[in-house]
Amino acid sequence: MMGEDFVRFSLAPLLIGALAAMACALPGNFLLLRRQAMIGDAISHVVLPGIVVAFLLTGSVSTWPMLLGALGAAAVSAVLIELVRRIGRVEPGAAMGVVFTTLFALGVLLLERASLGNVHLDVQHALYGNLESLIWLRSSGWASLTDPKALATLPEELPRMAAVAGLMGLLTLIFWRPLKISTFDEGFARSLGIPVRMVSFGLVLAAAAACVAAFDAVGSIIVIAMLVCPPATARLMTDRLATQVWLSLAFAVFAAVLGYVLAGYGPLWLGGEDSVSAAGMIATVSGLTLGIAALYGPHRRRDEAGEPQAL
């Protein structure tokens, strides 16, 4: 597993998986605390109509139009969910359900109409990406990491994912205070003059950007899993927000690495021949981690308010 083969076949997917996981986990922390954990599910469904529309508009299946189409669809769906909630006074869960299923149906319909030509949009790819194919073919061992020529041939998903993960980190850092205050106490936040609606929409938009970038590299299953599972696991381990965010990053990386390794080598250990889906395995690992935290996490239970206390 070490050495040349590792660098060539596993280094890039591992890094991309871990970065994607972290990029999703960061906004996921706040979505979790705002009870909007399902927004990731909604976003990953509307990615389909987004890329189909982008294809219909540009006629190409290249990366950037697809990414922009997906991002646009995510933004549109966020606005629509908000509209259905406010205008229709529909509760958040149902509002999400209404919007994302409708857009998804639209996507399927368009997909059916669009694939008239010989271009075929790969639903399977959108769903569980193709982490395993993101190999660094031109590398020749660890030394390649210092070789600019070899570095230039890294899969383009790697720098893109790194940039998005970095952006998420930066945004979290900059908007930490308004995010925290408006998530905890919206009324108080508004009385401070914090534009809570903009904060809320910005958060969803950032999550959408992370989702879209990640889904292109690793598929939407990881996206949904990473938005929810690592933050939820971390919440059961600590009562401090900053610690929760750091822990969620650690759990995200843990799931990405362990999932990838299990998918690649697990079947071999069990005597099989082919590897299984890395994306699926990463999601599975993150779910199992949450299960363990739900059983043993030190802060897994809701504290009974009003613990008797002499003053």
Binding site: L33, F188, L192, G193, R235, D239, L241, L311
Partner: protein, 273 residues
């Protein structure tokens, strides 16, 4: 009086709405409705500075709504509000709002000191560094409400009274001129209630204005010196002794007060309408 004469008077006055005055809180024709269900109808109020002011009324009378609408947090349908003579969005930093305790998720992963530090947001801004001086001030605010020993405790593990104190400490950290508290005594123990009243009276002694949504008539006169009586509409407003009269209370509460409760206000308040 001659209506036409008065008309000329305000026809001559300058175009546009004049300021309602420099009062800490002034409202004119304030109406709030959730959908088409009115929650507050045409309330005029001018709160004088440096007073302890109670907003009193039965359940569902729009007390909390009045406070929220004053701060732009409730769906206003008509009317206007000013804080220190300015619209709310130009008065940020001069007032501190303490929402109802039940309005937030106490399971949130944060500690008492952290919550109090939120009161420093307008000073710190997005990226301002939280220095030792800020921590000292947050701790001092906790100290003032007797909660310094609980600075590191997760807020969900505090009692109701302690949670309310932490909220008050957060407002203290804001160092405002106007304090608006929504039901600060709801569900708290007697010791906490006394402690909160002490702190609020301290604020008043420093020349600040305190407004509380309050529902306990028995303590209203002891704690406050000015009151706004609401029941969807304004029933009365003024110094508490003039306002808490049998007539006003009856008009506020309808048939919901007992004879004994009314009798308690009969003697010193004078017979009202």
């Amino acid at each position: 009086m001659n209506l036409a004469a008065r008309q000329e008077d305000f026809a001559r006055a300058q175009v546009g709405t004049p300021s309602l005055g420099p009062a800490p809180l002034a409202a004119r024709g304030l109406s709030v409705s959730y959908g088409v269900k009115p929650a507050l109808i045409g309330v005029d109020a001018i709160f004088p500075p440096g007073r302890m002011i109670a907003v009193i009324g039965p359940n569902g009378a729009g007390k909390s709504t009045f406070l929220k609408a004053a701060l732009g947090l409730a769906p206003k349908i008509a009317g206007e509000v000013e804080i220190f003579g300015k619209p709310v969005d130009q008065a940020y930093g001069r007032f501190a709002y303490v929402p109802q305790r039940a309005s937030v998720d106490w399971d949130f992963p944060t500690q008492a000191l952290d919550v109090v530090s939120m009161g420093l947001y307008r000073e710190l801004g997005l990226m301002g560094r939280f220095r030792g001086e800020h921590k000292r001030r947050a701790l001092a605010a906790l100290e003032r409400v007797g909660m310094a020993d609980f600075a590191d405790r997760q807020i969900g593990r505090l009692s109701g009274g302690q949670q309310q104190r932490v909220f008050l400490a957060r407002a203290l950290a804001q160092n405002a001129d106007l304090y608006l508290l929504d039901e600060p005594f709801a569900g708290v123990d007697a010791a906490t209630e006394r402690a909160i009243v002490e702190v609020l009276k301290g604020l008043q002694a420093e020349g600040r204005t305190v407004v509380c949504v309050h529902h306990d008539l028995a303590t209203a006169r002891e704690y406050f010196d000015y009151a706004l009586l609401l029941n969807l509409r304004k029933i009365a407003e003024g110094p508490i002794r003039e306002v808490l009269t049998v007539g006003d209370l009856q008009r506020t509460y309808g048939g919901r007060l007992t004879e004994a409760q009314l009798a308690a206000f009969g003697a010193p308040g004078g017979a009202g309408g």
